[in-house]
């Protein structure tokens, strides 16, 4: 499986005559040393997106606190904005970063062919196989050039969830102007819940993402310097 998933642009182990046993997960063997794994545009958009998510989530928590629909509030110290008006200002400034950066990411990801190359094919069988490996502690994350089935699923989920956050946010912001979006999300009050749970789902992704980065710290370095 691992061979077929090595990107066409990278040199395969065979091409540089390495012993087969070294090909599965050791990164420098797959490509010339110093070759870029994550292109600069993708690293830039990743970190801008991380910043946007931090701004949106921490300001969003303070907005939630103004009229919580569950029995809890987020502790003020981990929120952004100081008061409701400040949090709203951050939220409605951060949205431009989140949306514009997200659109640029999607445009480049699709047009460069990276989306198709890195994320597809994504089949149930691959996800199931990799999930079983993961549960047995056998799934390797060590090759940042290749996304395993669970990574593909997780990153695509993050993209879809962010899109849902933007759409439900739009439905809340412009509930009169965009009636079809509002109604599709269960009306204004429905859209509030969708927005909240999409945030919670994104936080679950972030938690898993950070755990994986802690387990495979090299991925952080790759995301910073590209190789």
């Amino acid at each position: 499986m691992s061979h077929s998933n090595i990107p066409a642009s990278g040199l395969t182990a065979e091409a540089i005559n390495l012993p087969h046993s070294m090909t599965t997960s050791t990164i420098p063997m797959n490509a010339p040393i110093g070759a870029t794994i994550h292109p600069a545009w993708m690293r830039t958009s990743h970190w801008l997106n991380a910043l946007a998510v931090v701004l949106m989530v921490t300001s969003g928590w303070r907005i939630y606190n103004a009229a919580p629909f569950f029995e809890f509030r987020f502790p003020g110290e981990i929120t952004l904005g100081g008061w409701l008006g400040g949090a709203l200002q951050w939220h409605f400034a951060g949205m431009w970063l989140l949306v514009l950066n997200g659109l640029i990411y999607l445009a480049l990801n699709v047009s460069s062919g990276r989306l198709a190359r890195k994320f597809f094919p994504l089949t149930f069988a691959v996800v199931w196989h990799d999930l079983r490996d993961a549960l047995h502690g056998r799934l390797s994350h060590a090759n940042p050039r290749h996304y395993n089935g669970l990574q593909r699923l997780a990153y695509l989920f993050a993209i879809a969830d962010l899109a849902l956050l933007v759409l439900s946010g739009l439905a809340l912001w412009k509930s009169v102007q965009i009636p079809f979006l509002r109604e599709a999300l269960g009306g204004y009050e429905g859209a509030r819940r969708v927005h909240f749970f999409a945030m919670a789902a994104l936080m679950a992704f972030v938690a898993g993402h950070l755990v994986m980065v802690a387990l495979v710290p090299r991925t952080l370095l790759v995301m910073i310097r590209g190789r």
Binding site: A50, L51, L55, A66, I78, G85, W90, V176, P179, A214
Partner: protein, 263 residues
């Protein structure tokens, strides 16, 4: 895991990630200047992740956020469709009791003497005479059951009735090409709206709530009701209306709430 004490997720993981990265960098990046740069950028990112303490107090940050908010006013003015109506609801959906909301508590609601009350109309209007409550009641009335959305996030459905504001503006010969309509209220509240919203068919100079004379807590004697705007844009106890091209701001808007405040 210590983060669970604070919230389901938090910034501690982010902090750990930053530390981990710093450790990695000091080991792997040999050139000192490059290392310093990367370390500094990571620290910046880490600081941003720690959230709102120091960065929000900065006056220049506040000024920048205010600028973005004014930019968002223009975007919203552009998105606003003057013919798009807010959804109306059956009376069975009215929220009872309808929540009270103001910048003061319910015990401090202003009692206005309706007989002595006069509505001032000034600025870019042809007819600047004062209006009595009877004058307003003699005009054609319109009512609607619509959703009121508060900036805090909650919403409630209510029924308001009164004079369509566009009729009123035409009647006083307002310059309908002016940019703003401002309001001064008996409870010292003040706000202002864009002309497009002022002329919207569902914008009503409300005299009644749920078929009854507007009670003091909902803004007796007159409130401007706009289902296309957030609650704080809907002034209660109005005593003066003015039409102007000079940005008038508002009680909450001057403190940082978005001026357009429209949905």
């Amino acid at each position: 895991m210590k983060i669970t004490k604070h919230s389901p997720v938090g910034h501690v993981d982010g902090g750990a990630a930053v530390k981990e990265a710093l450790k990695l960098l000091s080991r792997r990046v040999e050139q000192p200047s490059r290392r310093a740069f990367l370390e500094r950028s990571l620290t910046l990112g880490g600081l941003a992740m720690l959230g709102g303490c120091s960065i929000t107090d900065d006056a220049s940050v506040e000024a920048a956020l205010m600028k973005v908010s004014r930019f968002n006013d223009r975007v919203q003015g552009w998105l606003f469709d003057p013919t798009r109506l807010a959804a109306t609801n059956p009376e069975s959906m009215i929220t009872r009791p309808f929540p009270f909301n103001a910048y003061y508590g319910e015990s401090e609601v202003r009692e206005v003497d309706g007989d002595a009350w006069r509505l001032e109309v000034t600025g870019l209007v042809a007819d600047k005479r004062n209006w009595t409550l009877a004058d307003l009641r003699s005009m054609p009335q319109h009512d609607q059951v619509t959703r009121h959305i508060c900036v805090e996030g909650w919403s409630a459905i209510g029924k308001w009735g009164g004079v369509p504001f566009s009729h009123f503006l035409q009647r006083v010969g307002a310059d309908l090409g002016a940019k703003y309509v401002g309001f001064k209220c008996a409870d010292d509240y003040y706000t202002s709206i864009d002309m497009a919203t002022a002329l919207h068919p569902q914008t009503v100079l409300a005299l009644t709530y749920d078929g009854q004379m507007l009670p003091p807590k909902y803004g007796y004697p007159v409130k401007l009701r706009m289902p296309t705007k957030l609650g704080y844009k809907n002034p209660k106890h109005i005593r003066a209306i003015f039409v102007t091209n000079t940005y008038p701001g508002g009680y909450w808007e001057d403190q940082g709430y978005n001026w357009f405040g429209g949905s």
